[in-house]
């Protein structure tokens, strides 16, 4: 019917970026299985998939009582040793019989929740993207908990270079003519709707995680630039406030780095409109120009002081 997921993205609670062995340990805390690490074009560590059993109502736009039983897949990722993500998703399918079966049945289909009774995919998608009411399946709560696991690792010093809220990206994919729609809601909530002609593969979840990562980077850089008060605060002060962006963020922009070839067109379409990379490059230039301007000011002060001393 459809697949829905939610990704929470946060600044890893450590003073600097962490190296690969530490990444492995932070993400390995959750299970005995190995952590998958890729180094090119950017360091990316992914925890093993973990399952959470669910038997609850699904959010529905029409408030219909839709019950689903099955398992949710969750995982944690750390990119560039700096950004942490908790991600969960579930494939919603019609059950063959309208009664709950034994857990062995659901465990043999990891990441699938079977709907008992009738449900419309569009209704479930709209209900989910609106945000789950308290008594319904809350993928965000599961993702948040997994992200907490990574963030509370004793290997992290919790002295993050700046404070920034987590972002949440809820996504839904359905089978259909290829299309993607990205929507900004409140300060922290985003939604993505994807229609994809092929059956679902985990690569689609990876695409959404990549979108969430880059949306977080963009959101965070915007906040840091706003906090710097360029134009109203003295140049040196603004440059000092932009320093964490240079130290920790600017090198992380790598859209589509871990997205399969066949899904790349979705990223490209978002880069055309609303134009993620365009906005990022403009902000990046702004940060660099501020730092350069401040360097020039400092140099001219030093030169003047030097002349006076002669």
């Amino acid at each position: 019917m459809l697949v829905m997921g939610e990704v929470h993205t946060a600044l890893l609670q450590n003073s600097g970026e962490i190296q690969e062995p530490v990444c492995r340990q932070v993400l390995g805390l959750m299970a005995g299985e190995t952590v998958r690490v890729s180094r090119r074009p950017i360091a990316h560590a992914l925890s093993p998939d973990l399952l959470t059993g669910v038997d609850c109502r699904l959010p529905s736009a029409s408030q219909a009582r839709v019950r689903a039983v099955g398992t949710v897949v969750s995982r944690c990722a750390i990119t560039g040793g700096r950004v942490a993500q908790g991600s969960s998703y579930v494939r919603v399918e019609r059950a063959a019989v309208d009664r709950r079966l034994s857990w062995s049945h659901y465990l043999s289909r990891p990441g699938v929740a079977e709907v008992l009774g009738k449900a419309k995919a569009g209704d479930l998608a709209a209900g989910f993207l609106d945000g789950a009411p308290p008594d319904c399946l809350d993928l965000g709560a599961i993702s948040g908990r997994f992200l907490d696991l990574a963030q509370s690792s004793p290997l992290l010093d919790r002295r993050a270079p700046f404070r920034i809220p987590r972002t949440r990206l809820r996504w839904v994919t359905e089978v259909g003519e290829p299309s993607i729609r990205f929507t900004l809601h409140s300060d922290q909530v985003r939604t993505v709707r994807i229609a994809h002609p092929e059956p679902f593969t985990p690569a689609l979840a990876a695409l959404c995680e990549d979108l969430a990562l880059h949306d977080w980077l963009l959101t965070t850089l915007l906040v840091l630039v706003e906090r710097a008060g360029i134009g109203s605060a003295p140049g040196a002060q603004a440059a000092a406030k932009l320093a964490p962006a240079v130290d920790h963020l600017l090198h992380l922009w790598m859209p589509g780095a871990h997205v399969g070839e066949s899904l790349a067109p979705y990223w490209e379409s978002l880069d055309r409109r609303p134009g993620f990379t365009r906005q990022w490059r403009t902000l990046e230039d702004r940060v660099r120009d501020q730092v350069a301007l401040n360097t020039l000011t400092l140099l001219s002060i030093t030169a003047q002081t030097g002349r006076r001393c002669q």
Binding site: D138, Q151, R166
Partner: protein, 304 residues
């Protein structure tokens, strides 16, 4: 940074002072979150002038969150949701100011289980990611709430925390404030029981005097000489008493003068109240401003 605000007795002005400190800290450019852990009387919403949560919230209050009734507590952005026009626009350069209200009709905690402490730890850990300061209003006197946050702070060794003990400048309040910290089952006693080092904990506790009437205050100009002499003698006696009880100058972070506005209506004192409508005293706003700086100024928190 977590700041726990507690008082020896009710009616000390703990909530109104801690909200004002949080408000001033946000004006100074920091992201601030205010947690109403005063479960018996969750009225922080009223002080921030957010009428929808004036007596706590019906959905997703902190009480409900700690009991496992919701995944995340309800948040109120004071800069957009306050009913006071002067508060509804975020001043340039100010940080975020977010209130986490208590649950309407929640009631004091009657016990603390491990699951509650775990949820409290999770909440503090998440808020620490995004806020420079979390001000936690921990109700009056010895309570399960105080025990819960003592346990939670032990489990978060890398998150700095400090305690503010609010008390009025009277004989009973001075003795009670000391008792709340050093007495049987007081903060140090309970803290040690949960694994805090009493010496270290002591260094993280400071006192704040509220509704202080200085003998040389302008309000006292109309008093007779005899009255003024008597007040002076009382003040000297209280200072001596405070010194003996470890509540003296060295352990004091600051004091807030008596202000009619705070006596009659618990509210945030904005610069507009001081400069435009002139209902509040400039000294009061200055005292909050000073406290808002001192809570994060390490030199004010050096070992006693």
């Amino acid at each position: 940074m977590l700041i726990f605000a507690i008082s020896d007795k009710g009616g000390t002005g703990r909530s109104v002072t801690s909200t004002n400190i949080g408000y001033r800290h946000a004006l100074q450019g920091n992201d601030v979150c205010y947690l109403d852990f005063d479960f018996g009387s969750p009225t922080a919403g009223a002080i921030f002038s957010v009428s929808s949560v004036a007596r706590g919230t019906r959905n997703g209050g902190l009480h409900e969150y700690l009991r496992g009734g919701c995944a995340e507590p309800h948040r109120v952005d004071v800069w957009t949701e306050s009913d006071r026009e002067g508060l509804r626009t975020k001043p340039p350069g100010a940080g975020r100011l977010v209130l986490l209200p208590g649950s309407e009709g929640g009631g004091e905690l009657s016990a603390v289980d491990d699951e509650m402490v775990r949820r409290c730890v999770q909440l503090f850990g998440r808020l620490e990611e995004e806020f420079d300061l979390c001000m936690v209003d921990v109700s009056a006197g010895r309570s399960f709430t105080a025990e819960m946050v003592l346990q939670a702070s032990v489990r978060l060794p890398s998150i700095p925390f400090r305690w503010l003990v609010f008390h009025r400048w009277t004989r009973q309040h001075i003795i009670a404030a000391d008792g709340l910290v050093t007495g049987a089952d007081g903060l140090l006693d309970a803290g040690a029981r949960f694994g805090h080092d009493p010496e270290e904990l002591r260094d993280r506790i400071r006192f704040v005097r509220t509704a202080v009437l200085e003998p040389d205050a302008a309000e006292l100009v109309g008093l007779r000489d005899e009255q003024r002499a008597w007040l002076s003698a009382c003040d000297a006696e209280l200072r001596e008493l405070a010194g003996r009880h470890g509540v003296g100058r060295t352990a004091m972070l600051g004091k807030v003068p008596l202000d009619p506005v705070l006596q009659w209506r618990e509210q945030l004192i904005s610069d507009e109240d001081v400069l435009a409508s002139k209902i509040a005293n400039a000294e009061t706003a200055a005292a909050f401003d000073e406290l808002a700086k001192k809570i994060v100024d390490d030199s004010a928190w050096e070992g006693l």
